[in-house]
């Protein structure tokens, strides 16, 4: 067929791709379109609007919300907390949340566990060619919603695209900065014999929610992830038992019980503090449906991941006040005291079992594997 030069027009680049293509990571117009149309409207704030190679933040904003007295001591006594975490969960959307919400809450919680008030986040999106634009939109929207809920601003971002088959749809890395108020001293090595061990709610929800969709298991009841920002709860706990520089921090240790679950966290705290931990298995709150699913799959809720639960180690004298305050917070209504720190068996976590026996609760060996029968 002869070419008809007269009617030939240059094909305009397709603007509205239904999926991510390599061009979206090119650094060119397509990427600019993606940022302008999808990300920018969701994350609109004055810091992100600087659009510089890096975002600059006035130090006065870090002290924002502090009392004039705290302001005065800010430079001398306050500390910054800085953390990073990457999120590779599959599937991207699961009962009770999605990877976007998880990526914000995960970093917010890591900051909160050092006693910090989280302020600013960055987000790096690694997109796999072929990811549906609709899915990206949904996840970016939930990143924005999670930032609002946690009271943090997304102030820096990055997008990369990898070839089809080189990613699992979408990975997100988030980093975060928070400030630690004077007098707050929360650290994993501060557990002392006599301290109370408190959990903020039911254990194992997130892990079983993911398991239930990943394994294609159909349970009669839907198990939802507990993903939530814990900074509000932590601030309430710190306020419940005011410490200050002379008294020392009222909360000795905080950990969010993510991968490895409660068992891993207690082992880490026992090892870091050089103390033993004892707890009563039946005091650990577990939803009946999570318990049932674990029984069926041969898994243990003590080792199953959470994304919105914390473990606190608190001096006995403050335990009731902290627990009382936790229960008034929406994310701590099922908070329970499960055990205590002991001088015996340093580094070892021991559970008292339902029948009154006892056993060592060890670190998980590797990936959770279902038992055969």
């Amino acid at each position: 067929m002869p070419l008809n030069i007269a009617s030939w027009t240059c094909p305009r680049p397709l603007q509205n791709y239904p999926t991510i293509v390599m061009g979206h990571g090119s650094g060119g117009k397509m990427m600019a379109d993606l940022i302008q149309h999808l990300f920018a409207p969701l994350f609109d704030n004055d810091l992100l609007a600087q659009l510089g190679d890096s975002t600059t933040i006035g130090l006065s904003r870090i002290a924002d919300g502090l009392s004039p007295d705290d302001m005065r001591h800010a430079i001398r006594d306050m500390r910054l907390a800085f953390t990073t975490d990457s999120f590779v969960v599959s599937p991207l959307v699961f009962p009770g949340g999605d990877i976007g919400e998880l990526a914000v809450n995960g970093t917010v919680n890591d900051l909160a566990m050092s006693g910090a008030r989280p302020l600013f986040l960055s987000a790096g999106f690694i997109l796999e060619e072929g990811l549906r634009m609709e899915t990206l939109g949904q996840i970016a929207t939930s990143v924005a919603a999670a930032c609002r809920e946690a009271g943090v601003q997304l102030v820096a971002g990055d997008t990369k695209v990898v070839n089809k088959g080189h990613g699992d749809g979408l990975y997100i890395n988030t980093s975060g900065i928070g400030v630690i108020a004077p007098g707050v001293n929360v650290a994993p090595n501060r557990a002392q014999p006599g301290d109370a061990v408190i959990v903020s709610g039911t254990m194992g929800d997130h892990g079983m929610a993911i398991m239930s969709v990943r394994e294609g298991l159909e349970f009669e009841t839907r198990i939802e992830s507990d993903t939530a920002p814990l900074n509000g709860l932590v601030q309430a706990m710190l306020a419940a038992a005011p410490g200050g520089e002379h008294v020392g921090s009222p909360i000795h240790c905080l950990r969010d019980a993510t991968r490895g679950g409660l068992a891993a966290v207690l082992n880490e705290l026992a090892a870091a503090s050089g103390a033993g931990i004892e707890f009563e298995e039946r005091r650990v709150p577990v939803r009946p449906e999570v318990h049932a699913a674990c029984e069926m799959l041969g898994l243990d809720p003590l080792y199953t991941a959470n994304e919105g639960k914390l473990v606190a180690i608190v001096p006995e004298s403050q335990a009731e006040a902290v627990l009382g305050m936790m229960r008034t917070h929406p994310l701590g209504q099922e908070a329970a005291r499960i055990g205590r720190v002991v001088a015996g068996h340093p580094g070892l976590v021991v559970a008292r079992t339902a029948i009154g026996g006892s056993r060592v609760v060890d670190l998980p060996a590797g990936e959770l594997l279902p038992r055969i029968c």
Binding site: G344, R352, S358, L369, C373
Partner: protein
Amino acid sequence: MKYIDEYRDEALTRGRLDEIRRTATRPWTLMEVCGGQTHSLLRSGLDQLLPPEIELVHGPGCPVCVTPLELIDKAIALASRPEVIFVSYGDMLRVPGSERDLFSVKAAGGNVRVVYSPLDSLKIARENPDKTVVFFGIGFETTAPANAMAVVQAKNQGLRNFAMLVSHVTVPAAICALLESPDVRVNGFLAAGHVCTVMGYWEYEPLVEKYHVPIVVTGFEPVDIARGVLMCVKQLEEGRAEVENAYARAVRREGNRPAQAVIHDVFEPCDRPWRGIGVIPRSGYRFREAYRDFDAELRFPEVQTIATQESSLCMSGLILQGLKKPNQCPAFGKECTPQTPLGATMVSSEGACAAYYRYGRLAEVQTPNPQIQTGQAG
């Protein structure tokens, strides 16, 4: 959780333990056959609450533990083939072969997947017609019916790209072999409740007569195990040797007939090597002639030449026969841990050594104060 918590009740357990204490007038050695029972004993701490007269030794009833090293190596060879999707129960992935495990095969690009039911592997086979799906068919009489059913369905559906690497073993043959051993010091057996759910317990009746040893069908929760121990001790004290059922809510004498029928349809008895023990005559299953097309070892004849010797360092054979306790092994908790297992019994979470490592190390530590201070949570 209903129907679980009742069987983990402290008062009920203590009641039975008291009765055991009152009944036992002299030391008795009992063997719990199933790895699930070992796991439950140590997880609940029941082992420490039993009176000192009662010694429990941990039997060979862990399918992961007794699967021969040679078969693991065959599985690894199959999983490494580019045209194979290798499908397994999760536990088997961490079991080390002579050089590596299935996790490493997966990391090196092998297509290794975990399922909860062998029937799921048929779905994988239908979705991947250009690959051969090989399922690792291991286990006792508990997993045999579902594995057999998968093969029956594959045959009915004409699924040519499905095969099974079979290493099935059976409980009564193992108990028989233990009773024939001159070293045996077991006075009574707690038979595995789940196996009996499928097979019933009529198979044990000739054994109690021949060897004059009590066999009590026992469940898996602490209250169940305490009951099994109590019934066994009563028989011993009264000089009886009978088959009794302490797990009547799940087990009938005749067992599950349709499950037995499908096993019988697909498999026939054969001699099988047991890891750490050796070959036990007629202690396993292999495919019957009509289903041999599904035998992965015939489909991939190269793997038949794989022959692996067991390590001589590990004493898991003695442990599986109840002749030694895990913590009597010099390597226990030192060279041999769940992260660096030397032998079968440390590998599986149901293995006696792994269970001891995970739950049992408290023996070296003082008993914790039972009165944990409690808040208003109650």
